[in-house]
């Protein structure tokens, strides 16, 4: 079943010099329920724009986005977004526990006063354990490392009970070792919660490693250049998956495509 459907969805901006800039040329996209889909492309290709359009954080200039058959005009209840900039996304004046309480509260659409009456401490600890943290509920985000902060952001999003998780370059600001662990964490959460995940990244390896499907966006908001199925067995493994022949073939082709070695139409054929 299709859960996210974008029909001819595009975005134009008015630049500071009053010129119309294409953020994203019209794109068609259908994402199956339970799929893990990555969107890759160079800076300025519109991949984050596409994600924000799906999230209802921006309104399209053209076309429409539907989530579970309902047209998106504001952030849908079933969709949650994880930002690249965790330092700004976690509320720095709230402790880790209160940040997750914030997620819980808005999942149940409670006011702050109603939420205070609920005993959520055990639930908060559970959410933290799900992302591999414990005993940090009383700490402030700034006391944690970048990787740990992004884990908290993920726990907060999970507390808000999403069906569809959108991640916008979530690990580009964390160190390489933490990133590998976070990748496996996201895969585990995706599997155990039965989520649909859309994952934006500029790291082609990361996209292939995680996904069922990799969508390549062309430069300057040109639209979809390629849509490649990733037929690698799960569960995936940081070493063996990344040395798999199929993995390496896909990696080479997508890399060439993103770097502009081939024109768009040849790229699509080559991948199919």
């Amino acid at each position: 079943m299709t859960t996210v459907r974008a029909t001819r969805v595009g975005k134009r901006y008015l630049s500071a010099s009053r010129e119309t800039v294409t953020g994203l040329s019209p794109v068609d996209l259908a994402v199956e329920d339970g799929a893990f889909v990555s969107i890759v492309g160079r800076s300025g290709c519109g991949k984050s724009t596409l994600l924000r359009l799906i999230a209802g954080l921006e309104q399209p200039s053209l076309g429409a986005v539907e989530v579970d058959g309902v047209r998106v005009t504001r952030p849908p209840d079933s969709v949650r977004y994880v930002f690249q900039d965790y330092g700004q996304s976690l509320l720095p004046w709230k402790t880790v526990g209160d940040n997750i309480r914030f997620g819980l509260r808005h999942a149940y659409a409670l006011t702050e006063r109603e939420a205070r009456r609920r005993d959520w401490d055990a639930l908060i600890e559970t959410k933290l354990r799900e992302v591999g943290l414990s005993g940090v509920a009383e700490r402030y985000p700034s006391e944690l490392s970048g990787g740990m902060q992004q884990r908290v952001a993920i726990a907060r999003v999970l507390a808000a009970r999403p069906k569809i998780l959108l991640l916008d370059e979530p690990f580009s600001a964390v160190d390489a070792l933490s990133r590998a662990m976070l990748q496996d964490l996201v895969l585990e959460i995706w599997r155990s919660h039965g989520l649909t995940v859309l994952f934006v990244t500029h790291d082609i390896d990361e996209a292939i490693y995680l996904s069922d499907r990799v969508i390549v966006l062309g430069p300057h908001g040109r639209g979809i250049d390629a849509d490649a199925a990733v037929r690698l067995e799960r569960p995936r493994h940081q070493v063996s998956t990344r040395s798999n022949r199929e993995y390496l073939r896909l990696r080479g082709e997508i890399f060439d495509l993103v770097m502009g070695a081939q024109d768009a139409s040849r790229g699509v054929r080559a991948l199919q």
């Binding site: 924000r52 949650r80 996304s89 509320l91 402030y140 700034s142």
Partner: protein, 283 residues
């Protein structure tokens, strides 16, 4: 790595490698010149010089400190200085509270609601240029010389720093934070209360601290100009009867009370924004 981690590491090492005595003296010296104790010692030295000079050469315009202290105690005991101080503090408090409410509300809304900014910016920027002393004759005409005038003057002066900082704080809200509020489906009101105000709070506190000092000054000054009350009037009276000791008693009182108010405010500030002073850990 952060300060408290370094502190902890140093603590673990200390039993093994005890620093030698000259090193300890050196470390103490370095800590001393880097702390406020240095400035307090300077103040103390200045007071000692004052006391010596005033004792050796008797001058009516520079009474010795012990005489000022005696005068101060007298004035506190007979209630004049104390009631004057309470009066000044009352005006300060009322003015500060009103200025905070007006400054935060208007400044924050100007930062968050474009229409409010468009409407209020010219008025605020024009009004901000007018020295309050230029307004005083008009204000006296409209408000008389009692409490209403004094509070109004204090409010006019104290509102602007709070307003400007609240505006800057409201503008400081990052795009990611705004989008975070949206994705958790906060209403406009919830976004302002739960995210806008806390994010602006450090700025607002800076403005409030600037304003606090100015409120006390203006409360004293208006007491001298109109209304015949407060520490300002106490000082004026001392001048008229040429009681130099009482003059100094009044001035010292203002300095000490101002310092205490600022210290109290800093304490509150640190408590409210504790999250900002904590550093990050490594993985």
């Amino acid at each position: 790595m952060t300060a408290h981690y370094l502190e902890a590491a140093r603590g673990r090492e200390s039993p093994d490698v005890a620093p030698s005595a000259p090193l300890k003296v050196k470390a103490f010296g370095r800590a001393f010149v880097r702390s406020r104790a240095l400035g307090w010692s300077a103040v103390l030295a200045l007071l000692v010089v004052w006391q010596v000079v005033a004792t050796v050469r008797t001058m009516p315009e520079l009474p010795p400190l012990d005489a000022i202290a005696v005068e101060w105690l007298d004035q506190v005991e007979n209630g004049e200085l104390l009631s004057a101080l309470l009066e000044t503090l009352r005006i300060t408090a009322i003015g500060f509270v009103i200025a905070t409410l007006v400054g935060v509300a208007l400044g924050f809304l100007m930062g968050r609601v474009r229409v409010v900014w468009a409407l209020a910016e010219p008025v605020v920027e024009l009004a901000r240029q007018i020295p309050v002393s230029a307004l005083l004759p008009l204000l006296i005409l409209y408000l008389g010389i009692e409490d209403r005038l004094r509070v109004t003057v204090v409010v006019i002066v104290a509102t602007f720093p709070i307003l400007l900082n609240a505006f800057a704080g409201a503008r400081s809200l990052s795009r990611t934070m705004r989008l975070t509020a949206q994705t958790f489906r906060l209403t406009w009101w919830q976004t302002q209360v739960e995210i806008g105000i806390p994010a602006a709070l450090p700025f607002i506190l800076v403005g409030m601290r600037q304003a606090l000092g100015m409120t006390l000054v203006m409360a004293v000054v208006t007491g001298m100009l109109a209304g015949n009350s407060g520490v300002g009037y106490f000082i004026l009276q001392a001048q008229q009867v040429l009681n130099v000791r009482a003059l100094f008693a009044g001035i010292f009182t203002i300095a000490i009370v101002g310092y205490a108010l600022n210290a109290l405010f800093l304490l509150l500030d640190r408590r409210l924004t504790r999250w900002r002073t904590l550093g990050a850990a490594d993985d």
